[in-house]
Subunit: 195 residues, 4 copies
DNA sequence: AATTAATCGAGACGGTACGTCGGGTCTTTAC
DNA sequence: GTAAAGACCCGACGTACCGTCTCGATTAATT
């Protein structure tokens, strides 16, 4: 029941698609975003330039598709015994992703592009990269009775993610405060939202 | 004993400097960062291209100089009667700056550039745009005895700024939670850091 | 004893062949040779691109096949009562063909291509477009005793065709000299070759 | 009293101009017109592509400027003792130019382009490459009393140039008729124009 | 009827030149 | 020595065609 399926002509080459995504991944790390060009991607991937333009609009879009899967995986939420451990794991994971991961570098760059490119902003928003794992953490916290069911998840996501996100993007130095202490303080703040 | 002071030749034109800064300000809003070019700035300012390159290295640098003064002014901290009012004012001011101000647009764009341009990152870090007003708020809070003197200011800045910053840069929708509630929760979290 | 005859499989589509030839004819007039592309021909003809490449090597070759029949027809020699009338008719026909006919436009374009494409030159040479009608004119002139049998036909063809050809291809304005006068002069020149 | 002279800015580089013209000259002979690209010219000349587009519209225009001086020189008319010798020299010179000279190759290619590019046609017409030397030959012939002053020079140019031009562009083989015989015949034809 | 094989339209493929745009530099004259 | 002007070399942009390569679908002649 697939609509708009082209039934004629040569089908899209999955091999070329993979080659482009890998080329973007590699080049971002090797030469940086400023030197990441469509021409360079095509040459690295051994692919015609038109083939990229045929399937993606901008290099940000390619980068998004290349990095988003890894990004989601690195931020995936693995349940811990207690809520505070869940929060600590989330904060550590988010910080590691944003500051040391290749996918995190791609994400930060895309956030940068999103500031002056609405389409990139839309793409990133649709990924809900941080919202998803936060949702898992909060859901379990509600189940355990550690926070009220009425806690607004979106606001909680901003509270839990914000500090790490702010430090990573502004380059502010990592604080001497242990993650456990920060986690406890933020969890309390989330709880306070319903008071 | 003045070093590197040019004592001969035509002096730098202050008029040209202003023209360039205003041109950047205007163009950012009018055409967006993606279409902001050195050539365009020069033409808009009625200035030779070389004149820009003589005094600034990159367009990010020009943009920084053009926007930083306004940005600092818009984020300046004006003391309120109570600590919670101080925090509310800070949060509101930061959000307004980031989401609706022209200077805030410039700042967000620069944060974006900073993700792949170390020099821009260094510039932005040196401005300590959010750290300064947070410092004022926290200092008065300590004076009033509302928070312990031992509270790590850098971490507190991340907690207070992070949620607003995260929402503004990821385009997440403003929550239904009133600023006063958020302020109270975050202030409590800051207090928790020293427990 | 037929060589290389495919005895099985789908036979060549005469309909597609005609469609291609007509498309080339039409497009040459409509968009000009510079904008005449294989892609455009295929789309106009409603034919796959491969189908063109299967049967012709270059667009010049298609153009040749598309125009040569009409060209030969337009230059065909119809006997007149006297040799001078024959020559006048030939000159008029050649000029009309080269300056106003669609087939003549195709021919001029092909002559242009032939200057840097040996294969096109070979094709054009094999058509002997002007040589054939000149041969008719001269043969009848010999029969009538108007010129000597020893007249070198190739040289005569150059003398009779050259002036018209030169004017048509260089865009030189048509002279005020009546064709009849020119014909007489050239016919005399042809006669002089054997003196 | 020069009009429209720009008095400011960097002046046009004569060195770049020469480099482009020489590159075109060389490349035409080395790789042929079909492979003569703006990109290739720029690279060969060590010049930016934009620099070419700044001063010339098409590669045909560059080729024209590169070849026209040499072409005019090779076709220049050097007076002989008698009119028949003048004509023989002209015919030999024209044939040599068209069939063996590099400038002649460029000229033939440009004639080809002119068939579907009105601008090139205009350029070539303005050069009056063959008309000029013919004018010299005819003027002296009139002075000597060998032809009537009333002879239409344009038509005479077509008669004298046409046969050689036709043979060169259609690739027809050089006839066995000696140039002297042809020259005499064509000169008689020119004379006949006023009978 | 089933099989075989070459054709067909369609359209994606890797390439390459197009003409333009912007980057950062250089070379003029004017101040 | 700085300024405006504008040409310079360079290289990426996004597009258009090139000629080739799959696809599924046709269309005969051969089994």
């Amino acid at each position: 029941m697939n609509e708009s399926r082209p039934r004629t002509g040569r089908p899209r080459s999955e091999q070329s698609r993979q080659a482009v995504l890998h080329a973007v991944d590699d080049l971002l790390v090797e030469v940086g975003y400023a030197a990441l060009t469509m021409k360079g991607i095509a040459e690295r991937a051994g692919v015609g330039r038109q083939t990229i333009y045929r399937w993606w609009s901008t290099k940000a879009e390619v980068l998004f598709e290349a990095a988003i899967t890894d990004a989601a995986k690195e931020l995936s939420d693995t349940p811990r015994a207690t809520t505070i451990e869940d929060v600590v794991a989330y904060l550590d994971g988010a910080e590691r992703f944003l500051t040391t991961s290749d996918a995190g570098l791609a994400y930060r760059v895309l956030v940068g592009e999103a500031q002056h490119d609405a389409e990139v902003a839309r793409l990133l928003g649709s990924a809900a990269l941080f919202e998803k794992p936060v949702h898992g953490v909060l859901t379990r916290a509600v189940d355990r009775g550690d926070i009220a069911p009425a806690v607004p998840f979106a606001e909680a996501a901003a509270i839990l993610t914000g500090p790490v996100f702010y430090r990573a993007l502004t380059g502010a130095a990592r604080s001497e405060v242990p993650t456990a202490v920060l986690a406890a303080a933020l969890l309390a703040a989330v709880r306070d939202l319903t008071h």
